[in-house]
């Protein structure tokens, strides 16, 4: 593998060039290899789908696996930039651009993390960043004020799972069969939903 550009900007330009169709072999083949041979590569392309959708339509129109990614991103951005006066509307145009900017940053950091050889071993943060999972520790300074100020409709605290609660959750999910949507789909949902082995 030939030497890669080492700065975020250079990497971004390379990816941008790839997306533009400006790359020729062997750079083209190499760049495509990076993007296609790994799970991170796949996620990267998904991120670009979302970006394209957001820029074109004002919202993500490709509601497949990317939705979860986008939701995580949205949650994280909300956590990181939550001034008291920020309007809550998720379709706020400014928020939209902030989201795009955040996504771009994430994409660049992800690319850097995954393309710089030895990064993952050295810093151990590679997989986290590459998956687009915000690397802010839960309960850290960024999330603490948010958790403390539980406004109505705010993000509820994430669930602390223990064996006892897991057992009750499983017991509850078994009875999703009592409702219409949860009938067949609910059975599937509970059978699919990650549970603890007894």
């Amino acid at each position: 593998m030939q030497t890669l550009p080492q700065t975020d900007e250079a990497l971004a330009e390379l990816v941008s060039a790839l997306a533009d169709g400006q790359l020729q072999d062997p750079e083209l083949t190499q760049a495509l290899d990076w993007l296609s041979q790994s799970e991170q590569g796949r996620q990267q392309w998904q991120a670009y789908h979302v970006l394209g959708d957001v820029l074109r339509g004002g919202r993500a129109l490709a509601p497949r696996a990317e939705d979860a990614f986008l939701q995580r991103l949205r949650d994280q951005i909300q956590r990181e930039s939550l001034p008291a006066h920020r309007p809550a509307a998720a379709n706020d145009r400014r928020f939209l651009w902030r989201m795009v900017a955040g996504l771009a940053g994430l994409v660049f950091v992800s690319l850097a993390a995954w393309q710089v050889p030895g990064w993952q071993e050295k810093f151990g943060a590679g997989p986290l960043l590459a998956q687009g999972v915000p690397a802010v520790p839960q309960g850290g300074p960024a999330s603490a004020p948010f958790a403390a100020a539980q406004a109505p409709g705010a993000e509820p605290p994430s669930m602390i799972r223990d064996a006892q609660l897991d057992a009750l959750l499983a017991a509850h999910k078994q009875f999703g069969g009592a409702s219409a949507l949860q009938g067949p789909a609910g059975f599937l949902r509970s059978a699919t939903f990650e549970g603890k082995a007894p």
């Binding site: 990816v15 790839l18 696996a65 979860a68 897991d166 009750l168 009875f175 409702s179 009938g183 082995a197």
Partner: protein, 340 residues
């Protein structure tokens, strides 16, 4: 802001193009037809159609559930012959496990621990109105709106929105296959329009060749497994000394069980009461057990995807309320629950 916009546009101009090309290569998002083309069905008709399709069709597919930060998936085989339904669900994430269902009989195999759990689920697959004779009609609790068409798992789907008429329940957006009514995707949405949880087929083959004989053989083959039966004891809340001061609007008690200790993760001296309520779409379970200071800590409210939980001490008892409802609905249940 303007500078950032310019930078963004320059940087992502190329991506835009490529995303467009890629989207087109995948068929692209479908364009919703004008509302005049909306199939005219009532809420009840939509639900019956979805319900019947999932029961009566034979299919295989991959099902993905995304809740909170976790994504789970499973492979499913479903076959129907007259009144007999058989299903096999192979979890692709988490601990390896296979679940087999023959009507209301369930068998879950955990190959790692060589454990097989056999159970019977009463009222499985019954339509909620059958469970709610004389109850509040679903149509009074939720409004339905046709929201166009989209493609899911390669199939054309009608998109319908179920919106609650009060704040006690979540909204749903459902993608149902145009010809059969099969639910392809389901989103649970809160009052602010956020998707709390979504479940969808990423791939689905309708009318696939699935052998009932083969599934029955697999379900019958528990050799090498320790088979545990988790028979629930049916009871009534009144018999157990519990009642509701006032009903939570739209929710009706559906069933009540005593769960034996073996079912639950840790051994405990007495069983747990599970009192189940449903509004026809959402389900709430109230788990009641004797209060033990050692195990039961502070009252808490938590969420995992659309599933919320609330714990609270009620005298000598400990309540854990679980449901696909907003937290204040669980609080209403906790308020209304009383020891008789």
């Amino acid at each position: 802001m303007r500078q950032m916009l310019r930078q963004m546009l320059r940087l992502f101009g190329g991506i835009l193009l490529s995303a467009t090309v890629l989207t087109q290569a995948h068929g692209g998002p479908s364009v919703a037809p004008p509302p005049s083309l909306a199939p005219e069905r009532t809420l009840h008709e939509w639900l019956v159609r979805m319900h019947e399709a999932a029961r009566r069709r034979t299919y295989t597919g991959t099902f993905v559930v995304s809740a909170g930060n976790s994504i789970s998936s499973a492979r499913i085989w479903h076959v129907c012959d007259g009144d007999l339904q058989m299903e096999r669900v192979e979890a692709l994430t988490g601990p390896p496990r296979s679940t087999f269902r023959r009507n209301d009989q369930l068998l879950t195999l955990y190959p790692d621990s060589r454990l097989a759990v056999a159970e019977r689920r009463e009222s499985f697959g019954q339509f909620p109105n059958l469970l709610h004779p004389g109850g509040t009609a679903l149509g009074q609790l939720y409004g339905i709106r046709f929201a166009g068409s989209e493609r899911v798992a390669g199939l054309e789907a009608d998109v319908v929105q179920l919106r609650p008429n009060d704040a006690l329940r979540f909204a749903y957006q459902i993608w149902t296959e145009k010809k059969t009514g099969m639910v392809l995707k389901l989103q649970t949405i809160d009052a602010r329009g956020r998707v709390l949880e979504q479940a969808a087929f990423s791939e689905l083959q309708l009318d696939a060749p699935v052998s009932m004989t083969k599934l029955a053989q697999m379900m019958g083959n528990t050799e090498g497994y320790q088979v545990e039966r988790t028979d629930l004891v049916k009871t009534s809340a009144a018999d157990q000394g519990w009642g509701m001061k006032s009903a939570v609007p739209g929710f009706q008690a559906v069933s009540c069980y005593l769960r034996p200790t073996a079912v639950l993760a840790d051994a405990r001296p007495e069983s747990t009461l599970q009192w189940i309520f449903s509004d026809g779409l959402a389900t709430v379970s109230l788990f009641i057990e004797a209060f033990e200071p050692r195990r039961h800590g502070q009252p808490m409210a938590q969420a995992l995807g659309a599933t919320h939980t609330l714990t609270r001490r009620i005298g000598d008892w400990w309540l854990t309320a679980v449901g696909e409802v907003p937290p204040h609905t669980l609080a209403a249940f906790a308020q209304a629950l009383q020891r008789k």
